[in-house]
Every structure is written in structure tokens, then in C-alpha cells.
């Protein structure tokens, strides 16, 4: 049977079989298209519980879905990525809707961490952290691969852990190389690098800076990171 208003249905909800058989009779062409129902039929509270137990996700239960975060979100408004809706991601995580959340695996990591949402949230949800925690949960479950954002995080933490001080040049070099950012505007980066050098925000030169007694501190830092569920490479 043909579906007349196909555009109203999400594509992935339509299942079409090449052949269909009903009680031994071939009914292909008549009954070979199915629409999956969109009814929410179960809550999975364990998802929110697990996210709430991480340091980033600890404020997830505070959310009451007012939408203050989304309405100010620069990814959502300024960059026009309307699918990026932190309020909605939090709700999906709270009710544990895995299927719906998976649809946003290419979107959810795109937070710019401007923290406007954190500043504005009336319930003091650390929205930026919570979204990060949901992202982390999804990667941990294998629902999505590493993302540019998560690789940046790993690179950053690894970089700091080496010497106890951030080495910006190494960070940028490794990251750009790993991401194969061909479209990267080298000229722009050079100008920015020069400006940072001039203002002393870029540490460089033959001397590797180190934090005093970093070996001891590093041990503690690693312990804490591991306790918080961060997988060190």
C-alpha cells in the first residue's frame, strides 16, 4: 500500500521489504511497507543515573526543561545548528531514550563550551558539563566513535599530564595533524600564533617548562582522573 504523506514520516521509520509473504501468499507490492511506531514505550532511568554519577553530569537531575540554555546557545542560534538543543539532549538522557539520542551523535559533540547556558540556567545546571557527560556516555556505550571534540580533550589532557604545563604548539600541531585538517586556514593560524607570541601567551623555545615536583602531582592527578572514569591513554 502506498504511503501518501511520506514526507511527514521520518525516513528511518519507514521499512520497505522487497518481498512479503502472508500465510504462504505473496503480498509484495501490497503490504511490503511498514512504518515503525514513534510511541515512547519505556523509560530507562539507569542512563540518567549513570550520567549523574560522573563529575560532569552531576547536575543533570536539576533540569526542568525551561529551555533557557537552548535559547541562548551560540551553536543553536548564532551558528544556526538547530538540531543542537542541549535542553532536549538532557531530557532524552533523563528518560533514557537511546534510539532518539543516537540520532544526534553527529551533533551533540559540537558544543563550543562558551558556557552561556551555565551562566543563565535558573536551576544552576552545569549544562556544558552535562552535555559533555552525555557525549561521554554515548561514546562509552559505543553508540558513537571518537569525535573531533573528544580527541581534542584527550590531546589536551595528555599534553598537560606530560609536564604539568600546557604546550600550545605541540597541542595544536598534534591536533591539526591528527584531524587531517586540510581546510585549516594556515595563514590565519600563523597570524594568530604571531599575535600570541607577541603577547606572551605562547610558550616556546628550547626550554621545556615543567611544574615543580610534577611526578608526584601527576600520580595524584591520574588517580583522580581514573576515579572519575576518565580513560587515560
Amino acid at each position: 500500500m502506498p504511503i501518501h504523506e511520506k514526507h511527514l514520516i521520518e525516513k528511518q521509520k519507514i521499512i520497505q521489504k522487497d518481498s512479503a509473504e502472508l500465510e504462504g501468499r505473496d503480498v509484495s507490492g501490497q503490504w511490503n511497507i511498514f512504518i515503525q511506531q514513534r510511541i515512547l514505550s519505556q523509560y530507562h532511568p539507569s542512563m540518567a543515573d549513570e550520567i549523574a554519577s560522573t563529575p560532569d553530569g552531576r547536575t543533570i537531575n536539576r533540569c526542568w526543561q525551561c529551555g533557557t540554555c537552548t535559547s541562548g546557545c551560540c551553536m543553536h542560534t548564532d551558528f544556526g545548528l538547530r538540531e543542537f538543543n542541549p535542553r532536549y539532549f538532557i531530557y532524552l538522557a533523563k528518560i533514557g531514550d537511546e534510539e532518539e539520542l543516537k540520532k544526534y551523535k553527529d551533533v551533540i559533540w559540537r558544543c563550543l563550551a562558551c558556557n552561556k547556558c551555565v551562566e543563565r540556567c535558573p536551576k544552576d545546571v552545569r549544562v556544558e558539563e552535562v552535555i559533555h557527560a552525555i557525549d561521554g556516555y554515548m561514546r562509552k556505550k559505543g553508540w558513537m566513535d571518537d569525535t573531533p571534540a573528544s580527541r581534542w580533550d584527550d590531546e589536551y589532557v595528555g599534553n598537560v599530564l606530560k609536564t604539568g604545563i600546557l604546550d600550545e604548539i605541540m597541542l595544536l600541531r598534534n591536533y591539526i595533524r591528527d584531524e587531517e585538517m586540510k581546510e585549516f586556514n594556515a595563514g590565519y593560524m600563523m597570524r594568530m600564533g604571531m599575535n600570541m607570541l607577541k603577547t606572551g601567551r605562547l610558550r616556546t623555545g628550547p626550554i621545556r617548562h615543567r611544574t615543580k615536583g610534577w611526578k608526584k602531582v601527576r600520580k595524584v592527578a591520574e588517580e583522580i582522573l581514573e576515579k572519575d572514569g576518565y580513560e587515560l591513554q
Binding site: 514513534r38 510511541i39 515512547l40 514505550s41 519505556q42 523509560y43 532511568p45 540518567a48 543515573d49 549523574a52 537531575n61 536539576r62 526542568w64 526543561q65 532536549y88 531530557y91 533523563k94 528518560i95 531514550d97 532518539e100 536551576k123
Partner: protein
């Protein structure tokens, strides 16, 4: 000559409002008769065995028993198991006929305080929720009793529920059943019940289906936020439209999750209907006997809802508690005291006026202003 005898005041109803009115009148030196149709004092909260009282989550005994003890130990004349069967009100005197098992009895009073309260709306009338059909659909007064007995179990099989849901506004804010008003306490009480469940059994999942959460004032953070943030009570925006049978004896709550904009049909072990408040039978009957005007929601009309909330359209009749509309227990207790002083002063003033022959008309209003 000014009559020096104590004001004779009748308090009808022995709930929170009636108890507090009786105590205050007695302490002020009035001659108080408290009439209660049940055999115990404490009103609906005691009769239906409420559990903890918001917002401090104190057991109902701790809240009301001190009031009851005060009344019991005082010289207030208590008429339990007694109803008022006839009233004649004229010339500043109220002739009241009491009826009890012991027969009829008459007495004269100078003023009456009506504190006859409310009753929980009967959820049988919302047939789509299957109250009375599915044993695991209960209303929140049943659940309150369950909590106060510390006997949390599914009525169908006596087992511990794994997931409980609440439907707010059953018989409130609903044109279909002619109840246009908010019950004021349903949100708070349901949230409080979920908190009680979660504190004792953190493993039970609790979901509250709401249209709005109206935990006004300090209930916001003391109940709503605390339940949500510390006790992991979940809130689902959407009104359950029907309850049907699910697999393995579960109930399916059919609602639209209005945040997802998707239908939701989620199984529950138990569903609690948060029913609204309506004026009790006693309130309606007494108002008729006393000739009081009713307002459009079926409660007693205060003389001025804003400035004279405990006066009625009859000058020697005062009203307190949920007889004038939904109210929480602390509010009813406050109103009992307010009605007490108004009634007491009215009697003193009217006796003074009578002695000097001045008109008493519109006096209450003039005095209040």
C-alpha cells in the same frame, strides 16, 4: 447594661481550622461548643490517616495531636458523633438543634464558626483512569494511608512496586467534570509522597505527570526541587489521557509527552490519582441551614474574598478552613484563629451596641475597614 456573660460561640467541625478556632476562643474566655460528626477530632487528615505533612515532612500526629490535646484538656464543650440538624438565626441569637445517638438537644449561641471542610473528589467519575476497575490505580488518599501504615504494596498482588506514577489534577482544573479550580495542595502532596517513597525505597522509580507544577512559595525548593535533584523523582510534562492494561499485570499510562511531542505508553506497577478538593457534604448542608451564599465553585462565599476572608454573608456566622476553598493545613489553622478573633469581637461589639441601641448593620465591614 452591658451583658458580662462570656460570648457563646459554636464551632462546627473538629478539623485543623475548628480545633484552632476552639482553642483561641477558649483562651480568650468564650463559652465554646465544638461539634464534630465523627467520633474523633482531627478532621479529614486524621480520619483518612494522612502520612507526613508538607513542607517540614512531620507526621500528621505531630502536627495535629498537640491541637487535639489542647482542646481535649480544655473546658471546651466537645460534642463528638453529633450533627447540627436545625438552625434558627435571628435577633442576634442562633438556636441550634444537635442530633446524636443520645437524641436531640438545643442550645443558643451568639455566633457560629463554620469549619466543615472539604472532601476528596471521587475519581470513579473519571472512568478513563479505571479507578475501581484496576486495583493498582489508587487515589492519593489511599496512597497516603498506605504510606502512614508503612505498607507500600501493589493492591493487586501485595508485591513491592518497581515503578509508581502520579497523575496530577484528577478532578481539578477540568471543565469536563465541572471543576475549574486548582486544589492548591495536589502538586505538593504528590511530590511529598514520591519523596517518602524514594527515601524509604530509593530503588523504586517515581514519575509525576504534570501540566504545571504549582508548588508555590517555599514549597518550590523544599519539595519540588528537593524531590527532583536529591531524590531523583522524574517529572513528565503531559496529562495521562487513559490507563489501560499492559503485560504481566502492569498498567499502561497513555499520555503525550509534550516535551518529546510523541505519544508515550509506558508501563507502571501502580498509578496514583491526585484528586482535587470539593466542599464536603457537611459544608453544603450547614451553609444551607445557616442561609449562607455559595460561590461558583460550590464553596462558601466569604463576605470579601480579599479583605474579609473569614466573614460570611450572614453577620454572626464566620468561616474557616477549606469550607471557603482548597487550602493547606497550616492555612486552615491560621484561618481558624482568624475566625475566632473575628467572632469573639463581633459578639462583644454587638452586645455593646445593643445596650446603647445603635445599629449593627454593616458593622463587620465598617469595623474591618
Amino acid at each position: 447594661m452591658i451583658c458580662l456573660a462570656s460570648p457563646r460561640i459554636l464551632v462546627i467541625g473538629g478539623g485543623p481550622a475548628g480545633l484552632s478556632a476552639s482553642i483561641d476562643l477558649f483562651e480568650a474566655g468564650a463559652d465554646v461548643v465544638l461539634v464534630e460528626k465523627e467520633d474523633v477530632l482531627g478532621g479529614t487528615p486524621k480520619k483518612l490517616h494522612y502520612s507526613l505533612i508538607a513542607p517540614d515532612l512531620k507526621p500528621v500526629e505531630e502536627v495535629l495531636d498537640p491541637l487535639i490535646r489542647q482542646v481535649e484538656s480544655s473546658a471546651v464543650t466537645k460534642k463528638l458523633g453529633t450533627v447540627v440538624s436545625a438552625i434558627e438565626n435571628g435577633n442576634g441569637h442562633v438556636n441550634v438543634t444537635f442530633t446524636s445517638n443520645g437524641g436531640k438537644e438545643e442550645a443558643v449561641f451568639d455566633a457560629v464558626i463554620l469549619a466543615t471542610g472539604f472532601t476528596h473528589w471521587d475519581p470513579h467519575k473519571k472512568y478513563e483512569y479505571g479507578y475501581g476497575v484496576y486495583p493498582d490505580v489508587i487515589d492519593f488518599k489511599d496512597f497516603e494511608k498506605m504510606l502512614s501504615d508503612d505498607n507500600l504494596a501493589r493492591p493487586s498482588n501485595g508485591k513491592m512496586p518497581a515503578r509508581i506514577g502520579w497523575l496530577l489534577c484528577v478532578g481539578s482544573r477540568d471543565r469536563q467534570v465541572g471543576k475549574f479550580y486548582c486544589c492548591r495542595v495536589g502538586c505538593a502532596v504528590s511530590i511529598k509522597q514520591a519523596m517518602e517513597v524514594k527515601k524509604k525505597h530509593p530503588e523504586i522509580d517515581t514519575y509525576i505527570y504534570y501540566m504545571d507544577i504549582r508548588t508555590y512559595g517555599f514549597w518550590e525548593d523544599q519539595l519540588y526541587w528537593k524531590a527532583m535533584e536529591d531524590l531523583n523523582v522524574k517529572f513528565i510534562r503531559g496529562r495521562i489521557g487513559a490507563i489501560s492494561k499492559g503485560d504481566e499485570g502492569s498498567l499502561v499510562a497513555m499520555a503525550e509527552d509534550t516535551i518529546l511531542q510523541r505519544p508515550s505508553e509506558v508501563p507502571f506497577d501502580m498509578l496514583v490519582l491526585t484528586t482535587g478538593m470539593e466542599a464536603s457534604q457537611g459544608t453544603v448542608e450547614m451553609a444551607k441551614l445557616l442561609g449562607l451564599e455559595m460561590e461558583e465553585h460550590g464553596f462558601v462565599r466569604p463576605l470579601e474574598a480579599d479583605s474579609l476572608p473569614v466573614h460570611t454573608t450572614v453577620e454572626n456566622v464566620f468561616v474557616a478552613g477549606t469550607a471557603t476553598g482548597p487550602k493547606a493545613i497550616p492555612d486552615a489553622i491560621t484561618e481558624g484563629s482568624a475566625a475566632a478573633i473575628k467572632a469573639f469581637n463581633y459578639v462583644r461589639r454587638s452586645r455593646g451596641k445593643k445596650a446603647t441601641g445603635r445599629s449593627m448593620k454593616k458593622d463587620a465591614r465598617a469595623y474591618a475597614e
